[in-house]
């Protein structure tokens, strides 16, 4: 672990002031950051503890949206009555991830900003583009089982590990941030970024910016939704593939649907064309198959993770059936609905 200065911000303006500059990291729940610091993967010189900031509330907004404070823990979010009843997809996805202990400590803002679980990223004795730009990537052609099926270049192989974010993508949440240049709202699909030629940048936050809340639009898809996560054991493992579906049915037809995939790309994966094509269709096998084809178009495996493509296809079909039937996947009964 590197040596670092520890600062504690009393309020948001102070946090923004302290957060300006190079090699500064905000500390919230610390469930990922501290691990990474112990492994010398993250080496901030300054740690700004934001736990005293007033970002611990879940608030109903006048426009019908629900504001999740950045410092509300994952557990408090998942079990909040308003979230559980109006946005059960989000509760379900949160409860599919990590363990109760981690969810009790991890915060909503931190969940967004967790780093990839690529085994090379975590091992500082191996080169990794994400950890240390320009060193190259050895995951490409190495231990690849958990890595992405989107894109066929070394820059594209890490996955974003969050379950919560897959649901937030499907719910079209908005991330509110503040920073040296003021406040702004980032649509969820623009928050995480594809690696491109800067694989070390996971998201579109500008230097010094701090997540203050996640806003959930009024439409919560509480009737027809599911979060289906497939992994190497039945709990406490990152997704090989996960699918969040948020669907609104009107008179037996799909009025609206959002589908987000986890475990396949550097960010929760959505294809608006695939969703659009389902509009006004009756839910059914053919429609679902077309959607899965569209979602997985261009997916490429690298040998060890080839299985993720057919697995994702089947998972999409199952998840769409679960959502359409109003029988969402339970996160406690491990039988797949």
């Amino acid at each position: 672990m590197n040596r670092f200065d520890y600062l504690r911000a009393a309020d948001i303006p102070e946090a923004v002031r302290q957060g300006a500059g190079e090699h500064v990291a905000f500390l919230a729940g610390g469930t990922n950051l501290i691990d990474l610091m112990k492994e010398s993967v993250e080496r901030p010189r300054e740690l700004v503890d934001i736990n005293r900031l007033p970002l611990r509330d879940i608030t109903e907004m006048p426009d019908g949206s629900l504001r999740l404070g950045a410092l509300v823990t994952n557990a408090d979010t998942a079990y909040d009555d308003r979230v559980a009843s109006r946005y059960p997809l989000l509760s379900s996805a949160i409860l599919a991830g990590a363990s109760p202990q981690l969810r009790n400590a991890a915060t909503n803002g931190g969940n967004l900003n967790q780093r990839t679980r690529c085994v090379y990223f975590y091992d500082v004795q191996t080169p990794c583009n994400i950890r240390s730009p320009l060193l190259g990537c050895c995951a490409f052609g190495g231990v690849y089982r958990y890595n992405a099926i989107r894109g066929s270049s070394p820059e594209w192989i890490a996955t974003h590990p969050s379950d919560m974010c897959v649901a937030l993508a499907a719910l079209s949440a908005v991330v509110r941030v503040t920073g040296p240049e003021g406040d702004r709202a980032i649509p969820f699909e623009d928050y995480h970024r594809l690696p491109g030629d800067e694989p070390w940048r996971d998201n579109t936050l500008k230097p010094g910016e701090l997540v203050t809340s996640i806003d959930l639009p009024a439409e919560g898809f509480a009737q027809n939704y599911t979060y289906l996560k497939l992994r190497d054991r039945l709990s406490y493992a990152f997704a090989l593939v996960s699918v969040a579906v948020a669907m609104r049915l009107e008179e037996g037809r799909i009025a609206e649907v959002r589908i987000a995939l986890g475990g396949v790309a550097h960010k929760p994966w959505r294809r608006p064309q695939a969703e659009e094509a389902m509009r006004n269709e009756q839910p059914g096998r053919q429609v679902f198959e077309r959607a899965s084809e569209a979602l997985l178009e261009g997916a490429v495996g690298q040998g060890e993770n080839d299985f993720k493509i057919p697995l994702a296809r089947k998972a999409i079909l199952r998840a769409l059936s679960q959502a359409a039937a109003g029988t969402p996947q339970s996160q406690t009964d491990k039988r797949i609905a």
């Binding site: 085994v119 050895c138 497939l230 039945l234 709990s235 406490y236 299985f307 039988r335 797949i336």
Partner: protein, 748 residues
């Protein structure tokens, strides 16, 4: 309550060390607080093979608090000859010597130890040590290493060579029903909860106390004395509590080497704790490939068993396991042949991990037996009965006992096996295919010469002691129960001590022999105390026992009572007072004796088990749930049904992991294990473990060991993964011969 009712052998007693463990009073190797302690953090090798060409520690030394960077260039002197580095297991080859020279033998090998006044300073400075290497070509890929496989001329001493019988090749050729397939088990790492750790307390003048995570304090004592030039009497090793080991603590691991070197160099106390990542730089279960050919007649009766296996070892030691013998011993085939080789790769040496050899070889063999059952269209359980052998079919010797038939019957009855529909894919509920599979388990029932002492004080308190270890298995409780049984004292009045090299002699704890061996030694020592106590009782006024002999009395409820007249008794404290004794202290050694040695030559000694498993498979998505396991175990006498059951439960859970989860992935280019943490190296989570039913079958066997105890630490894992794999076949019709059965393998 019966007048003679007592807590003793057979009483389900909660762990006597349980409260100490849950309250934190139990101290583990890394938890001994010492004044002026130095903290050591190891710098791991980046490369898998080659040599160190330079170490630049200048930056590390500038970190405040850092006092030394120990490397092969500045370490204190140590033994030169390989024989001085041999441990109790005596693996042929050149034992690994940490910080010995510039050679790199495996990735993660410690190349420097940063010593600092605080752990934080040592850890930070360890990241600043710059090491340059000259790399050599390496191979960590097991499949590639098979090109170099060989049968070592010098065998590991515990190795049991397969004994061939008949003409298996010819018999196989003419068999009506055949199975001929290749099976595989992935590399697994032990991953006990507690990381390997050592705290060396420096007393001055070359005297040290070493708190070490090990399964054998006296083995480590001898090793440290011989490798690092200490007088054996100046080295005391303590392992009072061990947070699991599974075999990873059978040999001294590198942390005890570097911690002791550092203490000697600095003349100060030193602590070194491995990180979870570093736990992947030493012991691991070898990867195994096994070809199995079974030939049978149309009824399923075996004519031929041909097994050929290779397991992985390192480039510097020839570790061997007994892989191919289990099927040859367990089944009555007139023709059987086994061959075995090892293949070297550039990793640390593979090591014993819970039921080494059997957990791999019997499991893979039992998958092949399941294939034979379908090929011959015989129920899998019936197939085992058809080929049941009353004797050890490989050695031709009878067993001291073998209640496997009863285990099959009781296990099948509890499971409801007779309701099984024989065809694969024939049982379904909702979307899930249901599969029922079974397998057989077999392990050795071993006994090792062990000493123990018993000290009875005037206040009726008894202390029993033995240098054996309790790696979470329940040895403390077993010792207390045997003592309670022998002297009729309540467990609250008994203290069991173990895990200290200064206590009476014991071998390293392993192989499931500790309960049988230390239990027998405790019993002997307590019997000697009983003799003296009976003499003392004779001093009680009025001689209520009338000079009765040991056979004529019962020790119970803290009293000695005449068998013939329950009204006549003497209290233990009363007897001590009458004889004016402060203590009675005896030490005894339990050994096989001549009759035991004769018995060992003439009879085979094994535990047996029958495992039945139900899985539910969502075939489309490759998800397997293990919903029910019944494991019926024939293990002789059970000293403590409560902790024994826990051992079987733990073995079964580990078997589920072997079947579905555990696999260490290597990067072949880099030559290193990559999923070296518990997030990516998967063992079963709670959600993966549902109903487990443990049955101990009655098995009276006074011959196997002095107490009639066979040991239960390992049998629970043997065959369990096969029962899971066979259940998956029954559910899906997919035969997967490579463990673990992960989603991708099930989807293929």
């Amino acid at each position: 309550m019966d007048a003679f009712a007592k807590v003793g052998i057979g009483t389900p007693l909660p762990r006597v060390d349980g409260v100490d463990k849950v309250t934190g009073r139990a101290r583990y190797a890394a938890e001994y607080a010492l004044p002026d302690l130095l903290y050591g953090v190891a710098v791991p090798s980046r490369i898998a093979k080659g040599r160190i060409t330079g170490i630049d520690d200048a930056l590390a030394r500038q970190v405040p608090g850092v006092v030394e960077v120990l490397t092969h260039e500045n370490r204190p002197s140590e033994a030169w000859f390989n024989r001085s580095w041999k441990d109790e297991l005596d693996i042929p080859g050149e034992p690994f010597k940490a910080l010995h020279d510039e050679k790199i033998l495996f990735a993660g090998q410690p190349v420097a130890l940063v010593l600092a006044e605080t752990f934080e300073a040592a850890r930070y400075a360890s990241t600043l040590v710059q090491v340059s290497y000259e790399e050599e070509a390496h191979n960590v890929d097991f499949q590639a290493s098979l090109a170099e496989k060989f049968e070592p001329s010098k065998k590991r001493s515990s190795f049991q060579p397969p004994k061939n019988r008949g003409d298996a090749g010819a018999a196989f050729t003419r068999s009506e029903v055949k199975v001929d397939a290749e099976y595989h088990l992935a590399t697994e790492h032990h991953n006990p909860m507690e990381m390997h750790a050592t705290t060396v307390e420096w007393h001055g003048e070359g005297k040290i106390t070493v708190y070490d995570k090990t399964q054998g304090s006296q083995g480590v004592q001898s090793f440290l004395a011989s490798a690092f030039g200490f007088s054996k009497s100046d080295v005391r090793v303590v392992n009072a509590y061990v947070g699991g080991a599974f075999g990873s603590g059978l040999r001294p691991q590198w942390q005890v080497q570097v911690a002791t070197l550092a203490a000697k160099h600095m003349k100060r106390s030193v602590r070194v704790v491995m990180t979870r990542q570093q736990m992947f730089t030493h012991a691991h279960r070898p990867e195994c490939t096994m070809s199995i050919r079974l030939g049978a007649d149309s009824s399923g009766k075996l004519n031929a068993v041909i097994t050929d296996a290779t397991t992985s070892t390192s480039r510097f030691e020839d570790n061997m396991e007994d892989i191919v013998i289990w099927g040859m011993m367990n089944y009555a085939s007139p023709n059987a042949m086994g061959t075995y080789a090892i293949a070297p790769r550039d990793t640390y040496t593979s090591a014993d991990m819970r039921a080494p050899g059997a957990a791999t070889g019997m499991t893979l063999f039992e998958i092949a037996m399941d294939e034979l059952a379908y090929a011959a269209r015989v129920d899998p359980l019936e197939l085992r009965m058809i080929n049941y052998s009353e004797v050890d079919a490989m050695n031709g010797t009878p067993f001291t006992s073998k209640a496997l038939r009863e285990a099959y019957r009781e296990g099948a009855a509890r499971f409801g096996w007779e309701r099984r529909s024989p065809e694969p894919r024939s049982m379904k509920e909702g979307r899930e295919l249901i599969g029922w599979g079974m397998a057989t388990g077999m392990w050795d029932a071993m006994f090792s010469k062990t000493s123990a002492s018993a000290k009875l004080s005037a206040n009726g308190h008894l202390e029993v002691a033995c240098a054996t270890s309790d790696i979470g298995t329940g040895t403390y409780t077993v010792m207390a129960l045997v003592a309670a049984d022998t002297l009729g004292l309540p467990p609250e009045q008994i203290t069991a001590r173990l895990g200290d090299s200064s206590l009476p002699t014991s071998p390293v704890e392993g192989g499931s022999w500790a309960a049988a061996s230390s239990g027998a030694a405790v019993q002997l020592a307590c019997q000697s105390v009983a003799k003296k106590l009976l003499k003392a009782a004779d001093k009680v006024e009025g001689r209520p026992l009338g000079g009765a002999s040991l056979d004529e009395v019962v020790f119970a409820d803290g009293r000695i009572t005449l068998k013939s007249d329950a009204g006549k008794s003497v209290g233990v404290i009363e007897a001590m007072r009458a004889a004016e004794l402060a203590v009675i202290e005896e030490e005894e050694t339990a050994s096989s004796g001549i009759s035991g040695l004769v018995s060992m030559a003439r009879k085979s000694r094994n535990t047996h088990s029958a495992i039945f498993c139900e899985v539910r498979v969502d075939e489309e998505l490759g998800q397997v749930r293990v919903t029910r396991i019944v494991n019926a175990v024939a293990a002789g006498r059970i000293i403590n049904p409560k902790t024994a059951r826990s051992q079987i439960l733990g073995g079964v859970v580990m078997g589920i992991g072997m079947a579905l989860h555990e696999e260490t992935f290597a990067d072949k280019k880099l030559g290193r294990w990559m999923n070296h943490n518990l997030a990516e190296y998967h063992v079963p989570a709670h959600a993966d473990v549902e109903a487990i039913d443990v049955i101990f079958v009655d098995e009276h066997d006074p011959e196997v060991t002095p107490l009639g105890v066979k040991g239960v630490g390992e049998i629970g894992i043997v065959g369990t993964a096969a029962a899971v794999a066979n259940a998956i076949y029954h559910a899906t019709g997919k035969r997967i011969r490579s463990l673990p059965i992960t989603i991708d393998r099930l989807m293929e």
